[in-house]
């Protein structure tokens, strides 16, 4: 046996491939995520998203909120991010999103989790070795209330390259 750790190592692979996305398959995604006020404020200011709901607590309270509102685009990207290892890390470019709805406001301190169902897949004609997969992703808060849902489409690598 080699003494070199590199020669003895096995890669611990991540992600899924096209063949894993049987339509109707449900993924309950890992980890979850509590959004914090500093992240939400930084996200809004770095993206120049100048709506004071997202960085002025007094302004948000005048509008009926308990304090700063989490930027909906942070909610979207976080719910999306939680799905990546299961859905698209093995993959290819993110092509688009349809029918995204924000159902409820999210506040710093809320904990998000995500789940997805495979809606549709087909082998790509134009990208050799890739398929096109569409998932319906839903994001929930700690009270199991749905806060966001959307349909996402990606190129996904085939495990068995077809020639």
């Amino acid at each position: 046996m080699s003494d070199d750790f590199r020669a003895r190592a096995r890669l611990v692979p991540k992600g899924n491939r096209y063949e894993d996305f049987e339509p109707g398959r449900v993924f309950k995604h890992h980890w979850g995520r509590t959004l914090t006020e500093s992240e939400s404020t930084l996200f809004s200011t770095l993206t120049l998203h100048f709506n004071p709901h997202y960085f002025n607590a007094a302004y948000a309270r005048v509008h009926g909120h308990p304090g700063i509102v989490a930027n909906p685009l942070l909610v979207f990207t976080t719910v999306f991010g939680l799905t990546v290892e299961d859905l698209s890390e093995g993959g290819g470019p993110f092509l688009g999103v349809n029918q995204l709805t924000y159902h409820l406001p999210v506040y710093p301190g809320d904990s998000l989790r995500a789940e997805s169902i495979v809606l549709d897949r087909r082998v790509s004609d134009s990208h050799k070795g890739f398929g096109i997969v569409t998932w319906h992703t839903r994001g929930f808060n700690q009270r199991e209330e749905e806060v966001i849902d959307f349909k996402r489409t990606n190129l996904v690598r085939l495990r068995n390259q077809q020639s």
Partner: protein, 159 residues
């Protein structure tokens, strides 16, 4: 607190006319730190967004920006004109990533007013925008629709 003094006076619901196209002032060069910060803070584990060494041997030869950053940054560039007086973001549709935004690329944004409709509540209306993003080479790399509940001046202009 007089909230109307904290936001602009030209972006209430009444100010949006179907067919208007805005070119938003200010572009933004999206720094590698910002790309990686948003990617990692939002739990995105795809290393093509944050492993420069790996991506040197891939087709683009460098890190690829996360599409969620392109979407968020383009809507952010449009926000002072189309979200500053928003009460709530309602949704998005027909989001298309048409080309890559690499670390260090610059993004500019345009917005078109597609539709204005009454809301259930009397103090606001619903505007549907189409946003367009272009890079430093004027290449159209992003588009998508966004629906927002925006204050009416008639109710909020002096509050």
């Amino acid at each position: 607190m007089k909230v109307s003094e904290l936001t602009g006076r030209h972006n209430y619901f009444e100010d949006f006319t179907v067919g208007d196209v805005m070119k938003h002032a200010r572009g933004k060069t999206v720094e590698p730190m910002e790309q990686v910060w948003i990617t990692n803070v939002t739990m995105n584990t795809a290393e093509a967004h944050f492993n420069e060494h790996l991506t040197q041997s891939m087709p683009y030869g460098r890190r690829l920006g996360f599409g969620g950053v392109t979407i968020s940054m383009c809507i952010g560039l449009a926000a002072e004109d189309t979200a500053e007086n928003a009460l709530m973001e309602l949704g998005m549709d027909k989001i298309r990533l048409k080309g890559p935004l690499h670390h260090g690329d610059t993004l500019y944004c345009y917005s078109e007013v597609l539709e204005t409709t009454d809301a259930k509540q009397p103090d606001a209306g619903i505007v549907r925008f189409k946003h367009y993003g272009v890079n430093q080479d004027d290449k159209h790399i992003f588009e998508g629709e966004r629906t927002v509940l925006i204050k009416r001046r008639s109710h909020w202009g002096d509050k």
